[in-house]
């Protein structure tokens, strides 16, 4: 039902939005998150980034996260695209697009999926900085962002 893709090529927001809208005539709200490579991270200039992933588990993990979101909110459809391989600053990394009849469900569903993707989906970023390449450290802020969803009844 939901669309999940791990790919090296870029994605097009308009194309993905048009697909979701053409499939359903009851969509009233479409919320999208796009993650973008920044030119600075943890105080250092970033000239490029490489994304590694665990093939198989990434798709499985993302499907579970989207299914859990669909249990909690009334989602009509959803698309998750995550790029892997080499990326440059201002490149798109990830798309989470959620379609619902109403905006509350779409906003909550999209943010929930992003928060769990950040802590549960097996991707790893390596950045190239003036001091060489380094693996990006997991952030405790991401852990806290994920944890707050378990406080919702």
């Amino acid at each position: 039902m939901f669309t999940i893709s791990i790919q090296t090529q870029d994605f097009d927001l308009s194309v993905e939005s048009a697909k979701l809208r053409s499939r359903h005539r009851d969509v009233g709200a479409l919320v999208s998150f796009v993650g973008v490579v920044r030119d600075m991270n943890d105080g250092a200039e970033v000239s490029s980034m490489t994304l590694e992933h665990y093939p198989g588990m990434t798709e499985k993990s993302l499907a579970e996260i989207v299914n859990e979101a669909a249990k909690r909110w009334r989602l009509i459809d959803a698309t998750v695209i995550h790029r892997v391989g080499a990326l440059l600053p201002t490149d798109q990394i990830v798309l989470v697009m959620v379609a619902s009849a109403h905006r509350g469900d779409a906003f909550q569903g999209c943010e929930f999926i992003m928060d769990y993707l950040k802590t549960d989906a097996p991707f790893w970023k390596k950045e190239t900085t003036p001091d060489g390449a380094r693996w990006v450290d997991a952030k405790s802020a991401d852990h806290h962002a994920q944890q707050r969803w378990s406080q919702i009844p």
Partner: protein, 83 residues
């Protein structure tokens, strides 16, 4: 047999991304980790209890107490940083 997969900084630290080992001398994830740590410094450093790493068995995140069985795919990796 058990298939071991290593990703990201752990893969780099130990120098390879995959191996197959006999299911012998360990029965839980914790025991498997101890067996790997005994291989030498690079393993010990990468898998120190104080360091942060995660384990997935058959593509599900697990605790170190998880029991293993023949044919399992065990992946060891640092906390994820996608998105």
């Amino acid at each position: 047999m058990i298939t071991l997969l290593f990703f990201a900084s752990i893969r780099e630290a130990i120098g390879h991304d995959r191996e197959t080992i006999a299911f012998d001398g360990f029965s839980t994830v914790e025991e498997l980790l101890n067996l790997l740590r005994a291989r030498g410094e690079s393993y010990r450093d990468a898998l120190l209890p104080a360091k942060r790493w995660r384990v997935a068995v058959n593509q599900d995140m697990v605790d170190v107490t998880q029991a293993l069985k023949a044919g399992d795919e065990v992946a060891i990796f640092p906390p994820v940083t996608g998105g």
